[in-house]
């Protein structure tokens, strides 16, 4: 790997690049999908390749190949440099990258039992156990799915500053979905667990817990009703708070979007953007999390980023380019889905910090509202300043008591309003389920979380 990296950097710089970097990867992964007690897919992939990026006066060229021999690597390096120069000729904006110190590191993610040492039979046996647990949970369970994924990646990040960061990445994930049906009504429950690390994670009680949780949720939802539409005071559970932190605010803090003029947070550094009880962070250094990494995909050492502190906007998520252009320090947010994609700014573990009241007190204070739990998905358009996210289940709150169960509750909000409308933040912090965040056609492993929080004037999407 090192020899090819030296060759590629030398050729890209020789072809006129002002800066060049690359990612060489060798990876193996397993993916098992069980449906209704039978293997639907059992797949493995074995990949290798290189992605080379060249910079010239404000424009980038990128080229990738999965032929890891000298000639195609040389060609890809020269192509990247030529494309950067060709793009720059037609670019209107011109800027420079600040010189940064070389980073030399070799990081192995903590792993006691590498997935590559575990047989397919054992992984399958775990997935079948989870499937059986869901089906045996209740007679109304009519269909089940279990997904098991792992990946082991050996990656070298190198650049023309002299950075050489070798990362031995490993992560595992399991996810359960259960469908319950009764008298023509079908409902789905789901739960997942995942972290960096090896198969040892799959030997914990928490793994079997996701099977029970998924099945129980599907059964619970059978007597739910569609949610009402309109404006409500809502209490978000740990998962919903996490997805709100990610969707409603995290994306708008990505400095590439800010520089692109596509974030409503542009020009608001230091401004009050949330109630003073709200602090929000993104932290890739939390070990045993799905969003962990020690060095980003440009070789920058990862660190915790405080985005909001006591209601004020404190900072953005940066890579080498945006930190140069915005006169900030790079804080290690560049990530690429694989060698074949250029690195872009991504979140990691995003969360709201805990407050000072109990969850019970928080709910008791609500006269008329909705408690929303679990998270299905969410998305945001930072330029419009609007976001939505969808919960798994919800409950009416009347005079501080939980009542009718609802399903499929979605919430729509405005980035610059939602956190100003926070009424109270509870003290029950949890970093929740693993997930994948999509941006510019690339996926990144992330997680999010926080405590229960109460927000006024949220628009709830419902059918009635």
């Amino acid at each position: 790997m090192e020899d090819l990296a030296e060759l590629a950097i030398e050729k890209a710089m020789g072809a006129g690049a002002q800066f060049a970097d690359l990612r060489i990867e060798e990876s193996t992964s397993t993916s098992i999908l069980i449906m209704d007690g039978k293997t639907k897919t059992m797949s493995s992939s074995s990949e290798e390749g290189i992605g080379i990026r060249a910079f010239f006066k404000g424009a980038w060229g990128f080229s990738s190949t999965n032929l890891l021999t000298k000639s195609p690597v040389r060609d890809a390096a020269v192509t990247a440099a030529k494309m950067a120069k060709s793009a720059q000729k037609r670019a209107k904006a011109e800027f420079e990258l600040e010189d940064r110190a070389a980073v030399l590191a070799d990081e192995k993610y903590p792993c006691r039992e590498p997935p590559t040492d575990v047989t397919s039979e054992e992984k399958l046996s775990l997935a079948l156990l989870l499937d059986r647990m869901m089906r045996e949970h209740h007679e109304s369970i009519s269909s089940t799915s279990v997904r098991y994924d792992d990946e082991v990646v050996d990656r070298l990040v190198a650049n023309s500053f002299g950075t050489r960061v070798r990362t031995h990445e490993v992560w595992t994930l399991a996810a359960c979905s259960a469908w319950a049906s009764s008298e023509g009504v079908i409902q789905r429950g789901h739960s997942s667990i995942g972290s960096i690390g090896g198969f040892e994670l799959m030997r914990t009680d928490a793994v079997t817990g996701i099977a029970a949780e998924s099945a129980a949720q599907a059964v619970r939802l059978l007597d739910s009703v569609p949610a009402p539409a309109g404006k409500f005071t809502v209490v978000l559970d740990n998962k919903m708070t996490g997805i709100m932190a990610h969707e409603a605010f995290g994306h708008a803090c990505e400095a590439d979007g800010v520089l692109a003029g596509a974030s409503v947070l542009e020009g608001r550094l230091g401004a009050k953007v949330a109630h003073e009880s709200v602090s929000l962070c993104d932290d890739p250094t939390i070990e045993k999390s799905f969003g962990y990494f020690g060095y980003d995909w440009e070789g920058t050492k990862a660190r915790r980023r405080t985005l909001i502190e006591a209601g004020r906007l404190k900072g953005f998520l940066h890579n080498l380019e945006t930190s140069s252009r915005m006169k900030a320090q790079p804080n290690g947010c560049a990530r690429a889905q694989a060698y074949s994609s250029p690195p872009i700014i991504r979140m990691s573990n995003t969360f709201v910090a805990p407050g000072g009241v109990s969850k019970e007190e928080l709910i008791e204070e609500v006269d008329h509202g909705i408690l929303i739990m679990g998270s299905q998905y969410g998305y945001v358009e930072p330029a419009k300043g609007q976001f939505m996210f969808k919960g798994d289940e919800a409950y009416e709150i009347a005079r501080g008591e939980l009542g009718q169960r609802y399903r499929d509750v979605s919430i729509s909000g405005v980035i610059l309003e939602v956190l100003q409308n926070v009424v109270a933040v509870a003290d029950d912090f949890v970093l929740t389920d693993p997930g994948y965040c999509g941006k510019s056609g690339q996926e990144a492993r992330v997680s999010d979380g926080g405590p229960h929080i109460c927000i006024s004037n949220m628009v709830v999407g419902g059918l009635v």
Binding site: E47, T79, A229, S340, V414, V459
Partner: protein, 450 residues
């Protein structure tokens, strides 16, 4: 240079020797050029070349899949051995009948445009600049972020029943987001285009459309919660129907009792005027092909015909379970094939019937309503309910399009939505794999923030 067809055939032969009952191999070689614009300036030009093989084997119905990058036989054989060992480890599945058998091959025209395959990075950059210029038609357009992607792919396919086929695709995709700003108010308008052929005229149209909606959105309003007539732009309708019908009619979802369309084949699910075809044979549409991901020849079939659910979308596995023939809906990815994932059921191109109205007539006939242009939400396929955010929407007041609506949601039962379609336009557009007209739904629940 390794011939990918030859590689695929050799791997199938070897799989049977290793004990597989059935096997298929897709060998794919692709090249994509992308130009990305940031704030009106060229940001990045990329070329991505990707070659590899995806090998699927079955033993007693148990599937195993492995892929390997490149075309080197040693790596491919290692992947094959892994796929076979996984199939051995898996659970036997008597519901698996067989992979498709050779039959009369079809040839769909309009899959490959040499002009797209031959595009050089500098030419794609020039088009991206033209796109950006078109998306900046007003002084209040603050920023334009856009991109153009031109890709080509050669796919060789071979299975253990003797099907040996090859097809080539191109894909030309355009996307633009214009951001308008007036004081503290910001609004972004988007538009996109998907085709297998070079469509230079689309470059300007996409840019201008993004710009016009960004400007229109600067005037914002909030509306109260209530029931409204909703006119769906093809962008919104395409996104909703791709999942609602494409996922709802997926035979695997139906057979497992996970779809709201379960038990409804032969029954009315919508208005008489609603017909939806799944048609992979339409020239130049991004979902078209000559054969699907399992080698089944392309054919057009009605999913919904005059409001009645006629057919589910099958691959060979679900077709075997229902004792019908595969509808040819086994997918190996989007517009270009990928070797990295096993095939799965997906619609090709969904073609929704046209009406005899026009957008202007629909608006004129709507006294109080909502025009939904963009949502990225997905329906709940199990319940058949859709609730999501109206990301880009406008008030319809007294027959005219008005201000953009801030912070609002839409909720409707899908079967109710199909029954409440009362107007469809003559004009159609292709979005998210669906060719669809403007549609008016007579009533949906809108959650407002006024």
């Amino acid at each position: 240079m390794v011939d990918i067809q030859d590689l695929a055939e050799k791997l199938v032969t070897r799989a049977l020797r290793l004990g597989a009952d059935a096997c298929d191999v897709a060998a794919v070689s692709s090249s994509v050029v992308v130009a990305e614009m940031e704030r009106g300036s060229v940001k990045q030009a990329s070329t991505i070349r990707d070659t590899g093989v995806g090998i699927r084997v079955f033993r007693k119905g148990s599937p195993g899949f492995a892929c390997a990058t490149g075309t080197e036989m040693g790596r491919a054989l290692k992947a094959l051995e892994l796929a076979v060992s996984q199939a051995r480890a898996g659970t036997p599945d008597p519901a698996f009948k067989d992979l498709p058998r050779p039959g009369r091959a079809t040839r769909t025209s309009g899959l490959y445009d040499r002009r797209v395959a031959d595009l050089q990075p500098a030419e794609v950059v020039e088009m991206a600049i033209e796109l950006t210029d078109a998306a900046r038609t007003h002084a209040k357009i603050y920023s334009v972020n856009a991109g153009i992607s031109a890709g080509s792919c050669q796919a060789a396919f071979c299975n253990s029943n003797g099907i040996t086929r090859r097809q080539s695709f191109t894909a030309f995709e355009i996307g633009a987001e214009s951001v308008a700003k007036d004081g503290e108010v910001m609004f972004s308008g988007m538009d996109a285009s998907w085709s297998r052929r070079l469509q230079k005229s689309e470059v300007v149209r996409v840019g201008q459309t993004a710009s016009s909606y960004a400007m229109r959105g600067l005037r914002r309003t909030r509306i109260p919660t209530g029931d409204y007539a909703v006119v769906l732009d093809p962008i919104a309708a395409g996104h909703i129907l791709a999942t609602a019908i494409g996922g709802g009619a997926n035979a695997d979802n139906v057979q497992r009792g996970r779809s709201y369309l379960g038990g409804k084949v032969g029954k009315a699910v919508g208005v008489d005027s609603l017909t939806v075809w799944d048609d992979p044979t339409v020239d130049w549409l991004s979902g078209s092909f000559s054969f699907d991901g399992e080698g089944t020849p392309a054919r057009r079939k009605a999913v919904i015909e005059r409001g009645v659910l006629r057919s589910l979308l099958h691959d060979s596995y679900t077709a075997g379970k229902d004792c019908v023939r595969s509808t040819g809906n086994s997918s190996r990815g989007g517009a270009l094939w990928s070797y990295r994932r096993p095939p799965s059921i997906a619609p090709s191109n969904l073609i929704v019937s046209r009406g005899d109205s026009s957008l202007d007539e629909m608006l004129e006939e709507t006294r109080r309503g909502v025009y939904l242009r963009v949502t990225y939400d997905h329906p709940n396929l199990a319940t058949g309910e859709f609730s999501g955010m109206m990301m880009e929407s406008f008030v319809i007041q007294d027959g005219a399009l008005g201000d953009s609506i801030l912070q609002s949601t839409i909720g409707i039962d899908l079967l109710e939505m199909y029954r409440r379609i009362d107007l469809m336009s003559r004009e159609t557009r292709y979005a998210f794999g669906v060719s669809v007209p403007y549609m008016r739904v007579s009533r949906a629940r809108i959650g407002g923030s006024a």
